[in-house]
Assembly symmetry: C2
Homo-oligomer: 413 residues x 2
């Protein structure tokens, strides 16, 4: 292993084909932001978009903007753009509601499509809201289905003829561990089960090829790697072959075949639009579009390459410079099964992360002992990794951390 | 009946105690906007709020703003402010999701609370998304409950011992007709049924006293009279006495007792927060707060008084000046059962409304023949009514309307 130094990282930045993207984002001065896996940063163009949507479209256009600014088609339009990022076709992805609400719709629909089967399969330690939503569905259906969680190492074997749907997060929020989407989808189909992939930590971070692996359903988050803004709407994917049969219980008027006919009886829209529920959150969805546009203009393979190199270099830096400080590695060293983040463990992880944040180096902490560092190739520089670890060395070597000194940061993934 | 003229309306504006509110809104020049019952207008302060939330809170604060700008408490904080507008207490109202999603949560919860009863009661012609959501629930619960619709004149008699929950819109979106909330709630309770009131066309428009009438649940819209912006989040109300028992199926992580402990098992938050699902839509909810703040600063009785006077005068103007043109009145002349709008019927209603809109007088049309005129006392002037009817007279007298000349406006209530 070569000995790393700052000049080496500077050189990587000079050669980085994605380097120019950083200028499209408005980062706070003097910050190193390694938390784009939790909340992405502000695209500069989103400032003008917010002004346009609020002042012109809403303020001046008022109700007419549903047509004149095509508010009515935002869910489909932005959905089609996201489709291009995850290997889906036009008309298979739509922007709506939150990730949690979208999971409820997809899981309820999958259970109906696979009626007679009794098992929803997931893993313990999946992102909490996924498990909570599935528990809500289980309770609501009063024993028709039950949620079973199996450790990821035995998940393939746990898929059986009684499995209605498998619900897994492609890239794990804590460890960054990545499932083999193709293998699990294939096994599920072999057993007659459906799969819902949660792409919250994948979309815009790692290549995803939903149709290549024959995926059924997916959901994802707008405010992480897509840089859509805090609490941006989520999205969902339904493979074309499932759309005509799909029934989802949140059958609000925006999912109606003819919403403005104002009829008494629900009739599902013919395609992906049947997954919509209430009125589109116009401002949030418009800001999301800005982030999606930037991501869609970038080369996902360059993103993945830079992300993996960053992960690799970060691990090497920790090994070379922090070996004596008691950190563990919670992410795999194998890039094939690692998303766009590296997680360390340390028993004083919370206090250490607070000390980094106090220096405007922002990663995050996940109980009980995980420090997460997210690598978002469009705006994080290689040299940021050097500077981050340099600060970490100083913090550890000089005891610049103190649990009592920092108020607990409410962590939001 | 006195003969009305423009000077009379100008005098009313001079004496209007609410007149100064108009200056808090950014109305397009030369427009008369009588569609605030569909999409409210832009508060001037929302422009600066959008800039702050996007540029400072998101752009500079990033993930830290969940604490430093208290994003985490937005649903409760704005909910408490709305509570003051509808006769609820602190901790009984929360901002979340859309009106449609919130109805699903409330209806599902009510059916569970009243398990063993089989009927969800509503009226035909209720706002479509309400019926669609109830149909989705019915289908999803596979025959456990069925939706029954009864004409509003016989709704009281239709509430029986098998009724789990009554779901009605307090002020009707088309006619503006207003239910007697106290009488229906009392009858429902007498029969052991629960009631969900949809306050979409009530909140900020007419006085509502949820706790005085002993209401159980309510939902409402953020983008109409609350001026929260297009697709603003909705809100919901759960009476304190129901909160501890309430189970709702959209049990996402924001409704967890301790969301950031990231545990595998759902545990509902103790109070109203258990009705939350996914991550708060920060930008939309922040803009909603601006509109709510303005509404909360106004005197609801003055609003109601002006609204009723406007309705009365509008009807008189139509009677005095348009009697020969074939308009019918779809709203009641009795102010006690009329919300903050007056609806007319005309067989050429669509074309007539388009002709008004072409003159920047914006009401809206609801199939098959309804012209809706909404009166929002905080920014509509008395003289606007005169000018609206004056334009209408010109349109009718001189045939300045032509169905073919206007592209259909997609109407969004």
């Amino acid at each position: 292993m070569q000995t790393l130094n700052r000049a080496y990282f500077e050189a990587l930045d000079r050669d980085d084909p994605l380097a120019a993207y950083r200028d499209q984002f408005d980062l706070p001065a003097g910050h190193i932001y390694l938390n784009g896996n939790s909340l992405g940063v502000l695209p500069k163009a989103a400032k003008e978009k917010a002004r346009q949507v609020v002042e012109e479209q809403w303020g001046q256009g008022l109700i007419r903007s549903w047509n004149t600014h095509d508010w009515i088609r935002i869910p489909q339009r932005v959905g089609d753009k996201i489709a291009g990022l995850i290997g889906a076709d036009d008309g298979e992805v739509i922007v709506a509601d939150s990730t949690s609400v979208n999971l409820f719709k997809m899981a309820a629909a999958a259970v109906k499509l696979n009626a007679g089967r009794h098992k929803i399969l997931s893993e313990p330690g999946n992102f909490p809201t996924d498990l909570y939503i599935l528990q809500g569905l289980e309770q609501f259906l009063d024993g028709q289905v039950r949620l079973v969680t199996e450790h990821r190492d035995s998940i393939l074997d746990a898929i059986d003829e009684d499995t209605a749907v498998v619900v897994l997060t492609h890239v794990h929020y804590k460890s960054g561990a990545m499932f083999d989407m193709a293998a699990i989808t294939a096994r599920a189909h072999e057993k007659g089960a459906l799969v819902i992939w949660d792409l919250s930590h994948s979309t815009g971070a790692v290549p995803v090829e939903l149709n290549r692996v024959g995926a059924d359903f997916a959901i994802g988050c707008g405010y992480k790697y897509l840089n859509g803004g805090p609490g941006a709407p989520g999205f969902l994917f339904v493979a074309k072959r499932h759309q005509a049969q799909l029934q989802q219980p949140l059958s609000g008027w925006f999912g109606h075949a003819n919403p403005f006919a104002m009829r008494d009886d629900y009739e599902a829209a013919p395609g992906i639009a049947r997954t919509l529920c209430g009125t589109t959150p116009v401002v949030g969805a418009s800001l999301l579009e800005v982030g999606v546009d930037i991501m869609a203009s970038a080369d996902m393979h360059q993103i993945r390459e830079k992300s993996l190199r960053m992960g690799q270099l970060f691990i090497e830096l920790i090994e070379q410079r922090c070996s004596q400080y008691g950190f563990g590695l919670a992410s795999s060293k194998d890039p094939a099964v690692r998303g766009s983040q590296v997680s360390l463990t340390h028993e004083q992880g919370f206090a250490i992360m607070q000390a980094l944040i106090a220096r405007n180096i922002i990663g995050d902490f996940r109980a009980p002992d995980i420090l997460r560092f997210g690598f978002t190739p469009l705006y994080v520089r290689y040299v940021d990794l050097w500077d981050c670890v340099d600060a970490l060395v100083d913090i550890m070597a000089n005891d610049h951390w103190d649990q009592a000194a920092f108020k607990k940061l409410t962590a939001v993934t």
